[in-house]
Assembly symmetry: C2
Homo-oligomer: 391 residues x 2
Amino acid sequence: MRILILGGDGYLGWATCMYFSRRGHEVHAMDNYLRRRAHAEAGTDSLTPILESLPARARVWREVTGLEIGVTEGDLNDWNMLERVFRDFQPEAIVHYGEMPSAPYSMIDREHAVFTQSNNVLGTLNVLYAMAEFTPEAHLVKLGTMGEYGTPNIDIEEGFITINHNGRSDTLPYPKMPGSFYHLTKAHDSHNIHFACRIWGLRSTDLNQGVVYGIETEETKLDPRLATRFDYDEVFGTALNRFCVEAVIGHPLTAYGKGGQTRGYLNILDTLRCVELSCLNPPELGEYRVFNQFTEQFSIIELARKVQEAGREVGIDVIWHHYDNPRVELEEHYYNAKHTKLLELGLQPHLLSETLIESMFAVIERYKDRVIEDRINPRTRWRAVRERAAT
Amino acid sequence: MRILILGGDGYLGWATCMYFSRRGHEVHAMDNYLRRRAHAEAGTDSLTPILESLPARARVWREVTGLEIGVTEGDLNDWNMLERVFRDFQPEAIVHYGEMPSAPYSMIDREHAVFTQSNNVLGTLNVLYAMAEFTPEAHLVKLGTMGEYGTPNIDIEEGFITINHNGRSDTLPYPKMPGSFYHLTKAHDSHNIHFACRIWGLRSTDLNQGVVYGIETEETKLDPRLATRFDYDEVFGTALNRFCVEAVIGHPLTAYGKGGQTRGYLNILDTLRCVELSCLNPPELGEYRVFNQFTEQFSIIELARKVQEAGREVGIDVIWHHYDNPRVELEEHYYNAKHTKLLELGLQPHLLSETLIESMFAVIERYKDRVIEDRINPRTRWRAVRERAAT
């Protein structure tokens, strides 16, 4: 299958490029290095050393495996470039990770909020037009987030919910209550994509993904130069990955607020398999479907305890301070999100085990001298603009 | 009350400026003349002759009434200008019409879709930041659209719906199924505004407005130079207003498809009163509320028949052709939208009567030599990008 991977230089994007390439697909990666630039500006970096560019990564991939990954260094908001990629490559599937992925980044200030919404929503709108014009039968596999739903007091369904109301019934998009200007972009994308499927007969799978953890895949292990990026800083690092780095370097776990915040989580290996299952089982033309892509739910406290226990096994004393929550979110809430559709397609989850955490510790240990410790504690506050105004 | 009116040069915006000014409020109007430019590019124009700029309109207003309307000619996406307006004027209410308002415009092609989403969503995001920073207690009265809901097969509630699901219950944002890239911007705005109210404690009334008709208000009648704009072309003209112009000039009514499309409608006089009622009865800080702002539902066929009947009364032979529907929408569907909240605040609707249509005919008659007839028939097709690709 010809698979175009947007955001192919990222944590999941690069891992996905290698995964599909190794399984015999023709892969083309596109990226504008947005994340690398954001790190450079903030003085942060990936824990794992990664090669300097996508072409360099593709060269090493060819050297190690003999396989080709095509590369375009460019922006989804550069229409001429996007048009050329669609015309030339004629993708059958588009795996779309190509967005600014950080909630804290989007909440830094007005400029970052506007940039995030502009970059993500308009970039995806361009992708929809490129599909409609050049590859109307291709399948858009779009990475969304479980964060689109927020934390409603009823069960979270997969994208749609049947509502019985005043004696009538309809199945409608599940209501959205995203928790940051970043998460909002994913809800906006979902609405735009759903519309494009309705009016143009495009097809799309919207993967409402949970929080991903893990540092290695089968392909990254082939050669240290094939490592995918791994972020642990307050802006790009997500809960479990960040906790593991903190444990190894002896930094208190940065668990925010009361720690009752519950979310869906999954192993990076399951992300790869979920995206593969989506590509191999496309929806009908005109269909917009949503899969909730995670394997288990944990609260922040549960995650922190697991990291402590894994630490105990290997002789690491994991400490844990109280951090004021920089976000605005419920810290104790109901959470029960459905996630059966990918299981029905054949997903066999890698559940979170102490062994997995211990193996993450071991990899992090190798790179711990690279950790920039003063970029771990939370600094980006959701109420910043109000707090500044009040002083 | 100090009221900032964004989009103060538009059909409703200018009428609202005069309405509030005359009722003793301190009014400041801001507009970037987006609509005037779009008309100039398309070779279309307002039926009513309007003065060349907001300052000119404000001068005549002062001459006629002795009242001041402040003016800023500028763009919501120009942060420096927006910041200055908020700092200097310190609005207590912000009435926000300042968006690209046309569904067909947003569907012309990729550039127009991207522009519409960029202009509307990012402009409103800037407004939210300006409020958070400079006027956190001000009240945002935001013009949305009934088109955010689409045509679900259950009753449409006002912004939120209580869902009973698997033995639990929650009141959540009503699911959105907008029908154009323009309508989608209003749904995106709603999600962004709701979030800003939750995290920053802002307050907002989101007016999901139906289709507005009417050509005169008490204030426009004070002097012909105070006319508000009136659009009838295929891009900016809406159903009833366009039909009235067509009737007067002997053009077939442009009713699309089967004509069963049912929507909410209201008189421009009721728009003014609804916005006033919203301003005079603000929500609590932190509250985001939604009012469905229309007074009656009609199908396209019902509207066309009303225009025909009014024509018969005054000796106009109204003809009516079948036009292929350029949009993608259901042409026969359930539609029952609630609209009680503004009535509870005291709205006394001006319902649609033959007399009203006849009075519109009379005003249109005065200006009928200005009609550009070849810009009335539908040319903007929702599937254009697919149709072009197929040829």
